[in-house]
């Protein structure tokens, strides 16, 4: 949806109209546009969003007025159930259809509503904050609905809280700086998605779809390719969402901060999908560990286990996501329990060696866990791991490693792979500078020219690739 030319034209038109409207009324216009965008995806998504927002709006107000915990429990259960049903039907082939006054409704479509698991956690955070008397609920349903439906973030976040978005509906002047920065970031997102993520996608599919045919090292490189693809895909989406919102006068939370420069898994989780991790830290990890804090490190272990198991369930129902979560539980508990040893090591080994060792170990640890994240099924992930342990080295490097990653054994395909790798590595090396360019407060024509040139020359236009995080 984000990559269709019509959508991009629509965004620019929306930015133009929004700019000339009175600041305090903009959110009404943006709500209408959001409903149009969601409704054009499918009508069931729009019905679900309005219905759930209405129910949550009423429940939160009742909770605030009566202080009756029953409303709190019902609200939390409703949103948790919505996420669980969403994940269950995403991973199962069950059909659910019914007819209402000769209008056919796909009930599965109501459950698989666009962005459901993202705005459900926004509602969960809202209930907790009102219950804890941190905020007063919004009195205006239109503003409540807007902060749930705001179209740039509807597909896959960034996860926002009501108190981040609602004050911004009061409106302030949209500056040229916001327009320029937003546009640059939108273009950067397009480059990440079309030039980097979508070029890696066939290489990843080639390895994961036929992992029984290749040795373990190909599987491991495939997992590394997937980790990089996922980063460009999701951070590209996030850049487009944040950039679009900024042009419309809204600041959304940053979602990524150079995650492959993390020297530990704990640091990785401070740099990857920041908005979701902030939610989990604030609403699950801290309350849990705080309650059991007298047990000190044991409380932290307990908090890590529960938080990551919930994170695994939020991503999907099945052993694959549980195993992905367990990998990170093991990594984080290991880091927590070895902090003294690691500090002693840091005083004896050169900081450079320690840092780069940390970078490599963290990257490959994340790649390993992503075997579960990407595999088509749990047995397929187990098979992938079996190959890693029993059949690691290839007999023929070209046929068993390079050709699968290049999606073919011809020279043109090798050239294609080397171009992709050159683009990806160049971006990762100069990432900090490129992102600084994209935050330029004035239109940077050179930056835009290079970005458009990269999209035209190397972009994938016919991939039909969805954003990976749309399934969550």
């Amino acid at each position: 949806m984000f990559l269709q030319p019509l959508y991009l034209l629509g965004v620019l038109l929306t930015v133009g109209i929004n700019y000339i409207l009175p600041a305090t009324k903009r959110y009404i216009f943006l709500l209408l546009v959001s409903c149009l965008v969601i409704g054009s995806y499918n009508r069931e998504s729009l019905v679900t969003l309005i219905a759930l927002s209405g129910i949550n709006y009423w429940l939160v107000r009742q909770l605030f007025r009566s202080k009756n915990s029953l409303y709190y429990c019902v609200g939390l259960s409703l949103n948790c159930l919505a996420i669980l049903l969403f994940n269950y039907f995403t991973s199962s082939g069950h059909r659910l259809q019914f007819e209402l006054n000769e209008v056919y409704f796909d009930a599965k479509g109501l459950i698989l509503a666009l962005g459901l698991s993202f705005y459900s956690i926004q509602h969960i955070a809202y209930f907790i904050d009102v219950h804890k008397n941190r905020i007063v609920p919004e009195q205006n349903f239109i503003r409540h609905l807007f902060s749930i439906a705001f179209f740039p973030k509807i597909i896959s976040g960034p996860v926002c809280t009501m108190q981040e978005l609602l004050p911004q509906t009061n409106g302030s002047k949209i500056t040229n700086e916001q327009l320029c920065k937003g546009f640059h970031q939108l273009v950067l997102g397009l480059v990440k998605k079309m030039v980097l993520a979508d070029r890696l996608a066939p290489c990843v599919s080639s390895v994961f779809d036929h992992n029984d045919a290749y040795p373990g090292i190909t599987g491991l490189l495939g997992a590394a390719f997937f980790t990089v693809q996922l980063y460009f895909d999701f951070s590209g989406y996030s850049d487009m969402a944040i950039g679009t919102a900024r042009m419309l006068g809204y600041d959304l939370k940053n979602n990524f901060n150079l995650p492959f420069r993390s020297a530990s898994v704990a640091e990785f989780w401070r740099r990857w999908h920041i908005s979701l991790i902030s939610f989990f830290t604030r609403y699950i990890y801290y309350p849990l560990t705080f309650r059991f804090r007298q047990h000190k490190q044991t409380a932290a272990w307990f908090g890590i286990i529960i938080t990551f198991l919930i994170s695994g369930l939020w991503h999907g129902i099945g052993f694959s996501f549980i195993c992905w979560a367990l990998c990170h539980v093991v990594y984080l508990c290991f880091e927590l329990s070895t902090k003294k040893i690691r500090f002693t090591l840091s005083t004896k080994i050169s900081p450079g060696i320690l840092h780069y060792t940390g970078l490599l170990l963290t990257f490959w640890a994340v790649c390993f866990s992503n075997i579960f994240f990407r595999s088509l099924s749990f047995p397929s992930a187990v098979h992938h791991l079996h190959k890693l342990l029993t059949d690691f080295m290839p007999n023929n490097w070209e046929a068993e490693v390079i050709a699968p990653l290049a999606v073919g054994g011809q020279q043109a395909e090798y050239f294609n792979l080397s171009t992709t790798l050159t683009l990806v590595l160049t971006y990762l090396i100069f990432e900090k500078r490129i992102e600084a360019f994209s935050l330029s407060a004035k239109i940077n024509w050179a930056y835009l020219f290079v970005a458009v040139l990269l999209i035209v020359l190397f972009g994938v236009f016919n991939a039909g690739e969805r954003f990976i995080y749309m399934q969550f």
Partner: protein, 82 residues
């Protein structure tokens, strides 16, 4: 009182992060101390409560952005005779 609290808090930090030479000041944040993250933060809070004989609330803990915030909160609790 501020200096006494800072010295006492410094001992807590040194113990929790296993860094005997660690020096902190009110402006010290998690970015300045290796391994001060959400994983170790809760251990730091528990140890601080134990050493100062006070109890923080969850909202207070989540609002700590630097050592100065912790010191302010400790001083407030001490003055209210917690």
């Amino acid at each position: 009182m501020t200096d006494i609290n800072l010295n006492k808090l410094q001992e807590v930090f040194r113990k929790v992060f296993s860094q005997p030479a660690l020096i902190i000041n009110p402006g010290t944040t998690a970015n300045d101390i290796r391994m001060w993250d959400s994983l170790t933060h809760i251990e730091l809070i528990a140890e601080t409560e134990q050493q100062f004989g006070i109890e923080f609330s969850l909202d207070e803990v989540m609002a700590f952005n630097c050592v100065g915030d912790m010191m302010d909160c400790i001083a407030k609790k001490q003055s209210s005779g917690y």
